[in-house]
Amino acid sequence: MPEIEEVKKELEFWDPLDRVLLLSIGPNPASHTEIQKRAVVISSILGIDLDVEPYEYGLYSETITEKLSDERNSVFFVKKGRFYELTEKGKMAWKILTEKLDREILEFIDALYKMDRNELLVLVYHLFPSSFTKSKIGKKILAAINKYKNRGFVKVRREGDKVILEV
C-alpha cells in the first residue's frame, strides 16, 4: 500500500483531538507551550471540545500532553530538544488534514504558526480569561493585554442595541 494511503487509513482512526494536535504542531518545530495555546484556539474555532484547566502558564490540556508523550504517535511527530516536529508521515497527515479545511480557516491557522510566542499567550489569555486563575504570569500578561486595547485597528461604535466594529 502506498505510504499516502497508509496515512489516510491511519487518519480514519484518529479522534478530533488527534487532528487538533497535529494542526497545532504544524509544519515547523513548535514548543510545548505553543502547541498547547494553538490547540486552545484551533479547537475553539473548529468547535471541538478540549479539556483544559487553568495552570501556572494559563490554560493547559492534559490530553494534549499525554498525546505528545505517547510513543505510538512517534510515527507522526518526534521531540527534538524543546521542540516537536512532524515526521515525513506527520507532514503527509498534516497536508491531508489541511486540504479538508476551508481556505480561511487554513490561512488563519497559518497566521497562528507565524505568531510570536508572547503574542500568542496574550491572545489566549484575553480570549479565555480563566487562564488567569492559577497563573504565575497573570500580572505581566494583563499589562500586555492593555497595550493592545484601543489601538485603532478595530474601530468600535454603538448604534442602538448594536455595536459596530470596523476593520
Partner: protein, 95 residues
C-alpha cells in the same frame, strides 16, 4: 472580505441586504435570546447572521486579517482579538 459560516452546526441565516459596505463587521446583542450574541456580517452583496452561544468562538476573515470572537460565559460578554495575515497581534477588545 470573506465570511466564515458556522462550523458548529449553529443557527445561520442569510439575507439579501441593501448594505454595500465591505469593510465592517457588526456585532449586536440578540435581545430575543439573552443567552446568545448575534453576529451580523456584511460582505459586498450579502448580509449574514450567526449566533454565538456562551463558550463558543467564531472566526471572521477580513481582507486585513482575522477577528476571533468568543462569548465568555463568566463575564457574559463578547471578547475579540484581531490578528493580521502575518500573525501579528494587532488589537484586543471586549463588548
Amino acid at each position: 472580505m470573506t465570511y466564515k459560516k458556522d462550523r458548529r452546526g449553529g443557527e445561520n441565516e442569510l439575507e439579501e441586504s441593501i448594505e454595500t459596505s465591505n469593510r465592517s463587521v457588526s456585532l449586536g446583542l440578540d435581545l430575543a435570546n439573552i443567552f446568545s450574541f448575534r453576529i451580523q456580517y456584511r460582505s459586498k452583496k450579502e448580509e449574514h447572521f450567526i449566533s454565538i452561544k456562551p463558550g463558543e468562538s467564531i472566526l471572521v476573515s477580513t481582507d486585513k486579517g482575522y477577528i476571533i470572537f468568543r462569548y465568555d460565559n463568566d463575564a457574559g460578554k463578547a471578547i475579540y482579538g484581531f490578528i493580521d495575515k502575518n500573525g501579528k497581534l494587532r488589537e484586543l477588545g471586549e463588548i
